[in-house]
């Protein structure tokens, strides 16, 4: 293979995954209808049932019958099949107390009885996967689509790729249902999403080719409105308020004790956490780096929170801007206290305000540490320094408010292989990031958080 071909192999593979509805390889509705009638014609035939399961879920055989994926049949005959996605967990005394968006451990899709029954049968018989695959291939041998293409087991799996947009299913929901690789889209790790919406879209997809009576029982299986699947690090609104209220009461205690060092550190932790929440900055010791990272009169911030490739310039919403401006004023006043008492501390704050050092620095009895690491005492709880809840929570709340997921990916610094938002031919506009920032502002407004200073509501 030539070097050039090798270089672009990955991109070509990605491009080939895009399956527009205009593609001649798409199976027409009538072909799908004929195919589903054929597969439903013998309900006791395991092979036909598994082929239908592939069509209905877009999954490969392993994702259907692998014993490591939980599966159960409900009393209505509907199947409940989990997927292979695993979400990161975190724990700390305060984080554990804060309420989360996702309250249950199980993530699953529901299968109508005509699909659930053969799936259960195949799992109970422990037939090797390659044998099942070859049986399905033999079943479909000779069947052709509208443009003469062979209908293979892979073609069945790809139907969902051609059709998901027709039923308003997002590609993230498609990936979840079809149990695609979780890291195909990094947002999959962050998002908590509505289970009810997922199942509605899945039902609508299956209704394209399954007779109504086959999905009737499936439709009646109710999923509570507030059930969410996905990230276990995403906090609910109450959870966010709880975390910030801990800082608020800690600050009050520090002020009562007239402990200015503790007050500085708690206030700094509050500002850092709130800005992380508003901009979806990952936790990092050099969080937000210097004051020079804030541009355009604190309306933008350049974030580098992982490697150089994580660099991104994002808008700062109005509420977060007020908070950082208030913090700058506070630092100026705090610096004045040291003018005639501690020249080292005076100089340290001067360095913060002039961009010669990190803006957010923890204070000890003798000095200012170089960054936001080593939070001590009460602030040592991981929720304030290392748990990535800000990004998970804001991403999930934004997804719930129906933001454009591609713009959200750009805001979060996730780059798809073929995405070049800054290319001249790209239709991406900075205004789209500003729109997200406005949503962030609304979300923060709805939370009972202090408006600018930690002590003011």
């Amino acid at each position: 293979m030539s070097g050039r071909k090798q270089k672009y192999q990955g991109k070509h593979q990605k491009r080939n995954q895009k399956r527009p509805q205009s593609s001649p390889y798409r199976l027409t509705r009538s072909t799908l209808s004929e195919l589903s009638s054929f597969l439903l014609s013998d309900p006791d035939d395991l092979t036909r049932g598994l082929a239908l399961a592939k069509l209905a879920t877009g999954r490969n055989m392993r994702s259907l019958v692998d014993a490591s994926l939980d599966f159960e049949i409900l009393s209505t005959g509907v199947g409940k099949l989990s997927n292979s996605w695993r979400y990161g967990v975190a724990s700390s005394p305060i984080f554990d107390e804060a309420s989360k968006l996702v309250t249950k451990d199980d993530n699953y899709i529901l299968l109508p009885p005509c699909v659930a029954k053969p799936t259960a049968q195949a799992r109970s018989q422990s037939i090797p996967i390659d044998i099942l695959e070859s049986r399905v291939a033999r079943l479909l041998a000779g069947k052709r689509g509208p443009s003469g293409q062979l209908i293979t087991p892979n073609a069945l799996q790809r139907v969902i790729d051609f059709e998901f947009t027709t039923v308003n299913m997002t590609r993230f929901e498609r990936d979840f249902i079809a149990d695609r690789k979780m890291n195909d889209n990094m947002q999959n790790f962050y998002a908590a999403f509505s289970a009810k919406t997922l199942h509605k879209h899945h039902t609508d997809f299956m209704a394209l080719f399954l007779p109504e009576d086959e999905i009737e029982a499936y439709k009646q299986t109710s999923i509570p409105d507030d059930t969410l699947f996905g990230s276990k690090k995403a906090l609910s609104s109450h959870g966010v308020e709880y975390v910030f209220s801990q800082l608020q009461s800690a600050l009050r205690n520090a002020l009562i004790k007239e402990d200015r060092i503790a007050a500085h550190n708690i206030y700094t932790a509050y500002v850092v956490n709130l800005l992380q929440f508003a901009t979806m900055h990952r936790p990092a010791p050099d969080v937000f780096r210097t004051i020079g990272a804030f541009l355009d009169d604190f309306n933008q911030v350049e974030i580098v929170d992982k490697s150089d490739s994580s660099a991104r310039l994002v808008p700062v919403c109005q509420r977060a801007r007020q908070v950082i401006l208030h913090y700058i004023d506070y630092l100026k006043c705090y610096q004045e206290r040291f003018r005639f008492t501690n020249t080292n501390n005076y100089q340290a704050i001067d360095d913060m305000l002039s961009g010669r050092s990190n803006l957010f620095r923890i204070q000890t009895a003798s000095t200012f540490l170089p960054n936001f690491d080593h939070l001590r005492g009460y602030l040592s709880d991981a929720v304030f320094r290392s748990i990535n809840w800000h990004r998970h929570t804001m991403a999930s709340l934004l997804i719930q408010s129906d933001v454009d997921r591609d713009v959200l990916a750009a805001f979060m610094g996730h780059r798809q292989a073929l995405d070049s938002p800054t290319k001249s031919s790209s239709t991406f506009r900075y205004q789209q990031l500003l729109d997200i920032s406005e949503r962030v502002d609304h979300i923060m407004e709805a939370l009972a958080l202090p408006k600018s200073s930690l002590m003011s509501k």
Binding site: R337, R339, F340, T341, T343
Partner: protein, 180 residues
């Protein structure tokens, strides 16, 4: 303390530092809430006479302030400016702390009567022979009348300031009556 060993010297602000034993008192005063709206004023450059002289002790290349720091609280700093200070010989550390706190307390014990503060401030401004513009420059507050300046400075409403004037008048009459 031997007063003969005191001397007045001019030192740049950059070489002044609050004595570590005086810092609690200094910081306490920094945190005080004031009756009058605080205005940071440049000390006029043509001011021949400082109204107060910081008391300092020499310490290597710097001077440690032990009392008399009011100008350090209110000046808008030009750190290259020279300030006249009273240099005192070595004082023992416990005495430094006592001196600093005595300084703060003496300033607090001389505060003006709170319920008539605005009225008395107005009387002081009226009685001074400073021009209207001088008062505005000194206080950093602009208003049409002296009464309005006093109200702004003391954050007092018009009705309250009127009540204060009446109260001040009746209390003065009462006090004079007692003296007769």
């Amino acid at each position: 303390m031997d007063n003969n060993r005191r001397q007045m010297i001019d030192v740049p602000l950059t070489r002044l530092i609050i004595h570590p034993r005086a810092q609690p008192a200094y910081e306490f005063e920094l945190d005080l809430q004031h009756q009058c709206m605080q205005q940071t004023q440049d000390y006029p450059s043509d001011q021949a006479l400082q109204l107060e002289y910081p008391q300092v002790m020499p310490d290597n290349s710097s001077y440690q302030v032990i009392a008399g720091w009011s100008q350090l609280l209110t000046a808008r700093y030009d750190m290259n400016k020279l300030l006249t200070v009273i240099c005192v010989p070595d004082i023992e550390s416990p005495v430094v702390s006592n001196t600093a706190w005595r300084y703060v307390l003496s300033r607090m014990l001389n505060q003006v009567h709170h319920p008539t503060y605005c009225a008395q401030l107005r009387r002081a401004l009226e009685k001074s022979n400073l021009s209207h513009s001088d008062i505005e420059e000194l206080t950093g507050v602009s208003a049409k009348t002296i009464g309005a300046i006093a109200r702004k400075l003391s954050r007092t409403s018009l009705s309250t300031s009127k009540r204060q004037l009446q109260k001040l008048q009746s209390e003065r009459i009462e006090k004079m009556g007692e003296q007769l």
